[in-house]
Amino acid sequence: MPDSTAIAQGAPDTAGSTHGEHPPYLRHHFNSAEQQADASNFAMWLFLLTEVMFFGGLFTAYLIYRNWYYAAFVAGSHQLNVVWGTLNTLVLILSSFTMAMGVWCAETRRRRGLVLCLALTLILGLGFLGIKTIEYSEKIEKHHVPGAHYSLQSFLDPDSDDAARAAGDKPLPLDMARHTEVYFSLYFAMTGMHALHMIIGIGILGFMIFRARAGAYTAGHVTFVENFGLYWHFVDIIWIYLFALLYLISRHGT
C-alpha cells in the first residue's frame, strides 16, 4: 500500500476509495469526494481573502480621511439614520443565522428545512436592500450624493436640516464642510460595493432555492451551500464593520 510512505498533508486517501463510492458529482480529476469538498472549501476561503483585500483599500481610505476630517465625518455620520442602520444590522445578522441553519439542514438532509432557510435568507437580504434603497433615496433628495449636485447646506446651516438639528450640530467652516463630500464618497463607495455583493449573493440564493427544491444539496453533496454560506457570512462581517464605522462615529453630542 502506498500509505506506508510519508503521505503529504492533504493527499487523498487512496486506500479509502475501496469504499467503492463514486458519486455522480465527483469530478474526474479528484480521487475522492472528500478531497473535492476540501479543495473547493479551501478555494472559497482564498476567494474571501481577495475580498478582504479589496475592501481593505476602502477601509484604508476611510481611516485616513476620518482622522484628517473628523468634524466632517461626524457631521456626515449624523445624516445617517441610526434606526435604519441598526435595523439593517439586525436583518443581516438574522440572515447569517438563517444561512447557517440552512447549512445545517443540508448537512442533516432536511430538504424542506433547507429551502425554508434559504428562502428566509433571501427575504432578509431583500429587506436589507429595501432599507438601503430608502436610505439612498433620502440622500439623493437631500443632495448628499457626491458630484455635480452636492449640497453643503446641511453642514453650513445645520438648523435647516432635521437630522443635523436633532443631533445638535454646529455649523462647519467652509473647508471642513466641503470635506463632507469625501465622507459621502466613502459612504456610497463602501455601502455600494457591499450592496453589490449582496445583490450577487441574492441572485445565487435564488438559484440555490431552485436547486434545493430538487434535492440537489440534501443528498450528501453540501459543498455549494456550505461555500455560499461562507460568502454570505463574509458579507455580513463587512456590514458589521461598516455599521460601526459609518453610522456610529459620534452620537453623544460633544
Partner: protein, 560 residues
C-alpha cells in the same frame, strides 16, 4: 553529436512516432479547445495569446525606440508618444509578463509535477483564460480608439482630472485581467495544497512548484488592492467623489499607496515563476540536484512575504513622510537578500556539475548575469539618497528591463525551450536556437546597458525629446532593440517549424528528473495512466539512472 557536448538523447528517428493518443489528438474541433477543461490545452491557448500580445507590446517598443533615435519629438506628437509608452507598459506587464510563465508553463506542468490529473478547478482555469482574452481585446480596443497616456501607473490626479483619454476602458481591462490572474493563483494554491500524489511531500516538490506557490500568494492577496484602486479612479473620473482630489480634501498619494501595494508584489509575481524555471534548467543541465533545496524553497516564500512590505520605495519623492522613507528603504534592503540567496544556490549547483550548453541553459546563464545586474541596481534605487537622483530617469527604465526582460523573459524562453519537447513531442532545432539566444543576449545588452548611463547622466523617462548630448547612447539603444527584435522573432519561426519537421523527442530527451518527464510526449489528457507514487527526493539523478536501467530491462513503451 558526441555525448560530452550535449545530454540530449533522442529516440531512434526511423522508428519513433508521436504517440497516437495524446492531449492534442484526444478531441478535435474548435469547441473542444474553447470549452476544454484540460489544463494543458488551456496552457496552449494562453501560449498563443500571450505571444500575440508580446509582439504588440514589442511593436510599441519599436515605436518608442524609433522616436528616441533623434533628440526632437519628430516621429510622432508628444501626446502620441505618451500613449505609446503607456500602452507598451500595460500590455507588456498585464498581458505578457504577469501571465507568461504561470499561465503557460505553470498551468501545463504543475499538475504533472505533483502527480495530479488536472488543476483543482478546471472550469475556473478556463474562465481565467476568457477573462484574459476579454481584457486583452478591450485593451486593444482602447488602443485603437485613442489610447491612454497616463503611463501604466495611472498616477493621480493626472489620470483622474487632467487627461481626456481612455482611462476608464483601460482601467476596466486591467481590472478584468487582474481577476484572470487571481483565479490562476487561487487554482495553483488549492492544487498544491490538496492534490499532491502519495509521497509527494512539500519538500519533494520541484522548486518550480514552490516558486509558483509563492507567486500565487502574491496574486491572491495583492491584485484585489489594484482592483479597488482602479474602481476609485473610475469613480473619481465619473462622479468626482473627491477621494483623490486635493480641492475636495482628498490625497492623490492615497492612489499611489493602493496602486503600488499591488504593483510592487506584481514584479515578484512576474519574476518568481521565472526563477522556478531557472532552478529546473540549471539542475538538469548540470546533472546535479539544486544546491540548498530548502533555502531556495524558503527564499521563494520569503520574497513573497517581504515583497508585500516595500511598496513605498516607488514613492520616495512623491510626498511620503521621511519616516516612511526610512522604513521602506530599510525593508527594501531586506527583500534583496532572498533573491541573492537564490543566485548563490544556483551558482553552487553549477559548481562541479556536468555542464552542457543547450539552449535552455544559455538562456539560464543569461538570466543569472542580467538578473544579478538588474537586482543590484534595484538596491541603488532602494537607497533613498541615490533614488532621489536616479528616480524617474532612464536608470529606472534600465533597472526594470534588466530584471524583467533580461531576467524574466529569458527565463520564459528557457522554460519554453526546455519543455517544448514535452508539450509538443518534437525537439526544436538546436543550432539556430542557440544562435537566437546569443543574438537576444547581445541585443539586450546593447539596448539597455546604455540606458543605465543615460539615467545617471540625467535623461528623464517618459519624454519624447531630450538634450542632444544624449543622442549617441539612444542610437546604441535603438540599434540594440532591432537586434533584440530579431532574437525574439527567430524562436517563433523555428518553434513553429519544429511542430512539423522537428525530430521526435521521446519521453525524456533531457533525462531530467520530475514526474512530467516520466510520461509520454505529448502527454495524455489525464497525464498519468495510473497514479504515480513519489518515493524519491526531488532532483534525484541516481533514481533516474536506476529507472532507466529498469526501463531498458523491461522494455516499456509509451502508451499509444
Amino acid at each position: 553529436m558526441s555525448s560530452s557536448a550535449t545530454i540530449v538523447r533522442l529516440p531512434d528517428q526511423s522508428t519513433a512516432r508521436i504517440p497516437k493518443l495524446n492531449y492534442l489528438s484526444k478531441e478535435n474541433g474548435i469547441l473542444s479547445w474553447l470549452l476544454t477543461g484540460d489544463h494543458k490545452r488551456i496552457a496552449i491557448l494562453y501560449l498563443i495569446s500571450i505571444t500575440f500580445f508580446f509582439f504588440i507590446g514589442g511593436a510599441l517598443a519599436g515605436l518608442i525606440r524609433l522616436e528616441l533615435l533623434t533628440p526632437q519629438s519628430d516621429l510622432m506628437a508628444t501626446d502620441t508618444y505618451n500613449k505609446v509608452f503607456t500602452m507598451h507598459g500595460i500590455i507588456m506587464i498585464f498581458f505578457f509578463l504577469v501571465p507568461s510563465v504561470p499561465a503557460t508553463l505553470g498551468n501545463f506542468f504543475i499538475p504533472m509535477m505533483l502527480g495530479a490529473k488536472d488543476l483543482a478547478l478546471p472550469k475556473v482555469n478556463l474562465l481565467s483564460w476568457y477573462l484574459y482574452m476579454g481584457a486583452g481585446i478591450l485593451a486593444l480596443y482602447t488602443m485603437m480608439t485613442g489610447g491612454v497616456d497616463t503611463g501604466w501607473t495611472f498616477t493621480t490626479p493626472l489620470s483622474t482630472h487632467y487627461v481626456n483619454t481612455n482611462v476608464l476602458t483601460t482601467g476596466l481591462a486591467v481590472f478584468i485581467a487582474g481577476f484572470s490572474s487571481i483565479f490562476t493563483g487561487l487554482n495553483f494554491i488549492v492544487t498544491i495544497h490538496k492534490m499532491r500524489a502519495p509521497g509527494m511531500t512539500w519538500f519533494r516538490m520541484p522548486l518550480f512548484v514552490w516558486a509558483h506557490y509563492a507567486a500565487s500568494i502574491l496574486m491572491v492577496l495583492g491584485t484585489p488592492v489594484l482592483a479597488i484602486a482602479i474602481v476609485l479612479v473610475a469613480l473619481e473620473r465619473t462622479i468626482g467623489i473627491g477621494v483623490f482630489d486635493p480641492t475636495k480634501g482628498g490625497d492623490p498619494l492615497l492612489f499611489q499607496h493602493l496602486f503600488w501595494f499591488y504593483s510592487h508584489p506584481a514584479v515578484y509575481i512576474m519574476i518568481l515563476p521565472g526563477m522556478g524555471v531557472i532552478s529546473e534548467v540549471i539542475s538538469t543541465f548540470s546533472r546535479k540536484r539544486v544546491f540548498g533545496y530548502t533555502a531556495v524553497a524558503f527564499s521563494s516564500v520569503a520574497i513573497a512575504v517581504f515583497g508585500f512590505f516595500v511598496w513605498a520605495h516607488h514613492m520616495f519623492i512623491m510626498g511620503i513622510s521621511n519616516y516612511s522613507t526610512l522604513v521602506f528603504s530599510l525593508l527594501t534592503m531586506l527583500v534583496a537578500v532572498p533573491s541573492a540567496i537564490k543566485i548563490f544556490n544556483w551558482t553552487f549547483t553549477l559548481y562541479k556539475g556536468s555542464i552542457t550548453f543547450e539552449t535552455p541553459m544559455l538562456y539560464a546563464f543569461g538570466f543569472m548575469g542580467l538578473f544579478t545586474i538588474g537586482g543590484m541596481t534595484g538596491v541603488f534605487l532602494g537607497t533613498s539618497g541615490t533614488d532621489i537622483h536616479l528616480t524617474e530617469t532612464y536608470f529606472i527604465v534600465a533597472h526594470f528591463h534588466f530584471v524583467m526582460v533580461g531576467g524574466m523573459l529569458m527565463a520564459f524562453l528557457a522554460g519554453i525551450h526546455f519543455w517544448w519537447p514535452k508539450m509538443t513531442g518534437r525537439m526544436y532545432p538546436e543550432k539556430i536556437s542557440q544562435l537566437a539566444a546569443v543574438v537576444t543576449f547581445i541585443g539586450f545588452n546593447l539596448t539597455f546597458f546604455p540606458q543605465f548611463i543615460l539615467g545617471t547622466l540625467g535623461m528623464p523617462r517618459r519624454y519624447a525629446s531630450y538634450p542632444p548630448e544624449f543622442q549617441i547612447l539612444n542610437v546604441f539603444s535603438t540599434a540594440g532593440a532591432s537586434i533584440l527584435g530579431v532574437g525574439y522573432l527567430l524562436p517563433v519561426l523555428y518553434l513553429t517549424w519544429s511542430l512539423k519537421y522537428g525530430p521526435i523527442a521521446g519521453n525524456n530527451p533531457w533525462q531530467a528528473t520530475g514526474l512530467e518527464w516520466q510520461t509520454q510526449s505529448p502527454p495524455l489528457t489525464e497525464n498519468f495512466t495510473e497514479m504515480p507514487i513519489m518515493d524519491h527526493e526531488a532532483y534525484d539523478y541516481e533514481w533516474l539512472e536506476n529507472q532507466q536501467t529498469r526501463e531498458k530491462e523491461a522494455e516499456v513503451t509509451s502508451a499509444g
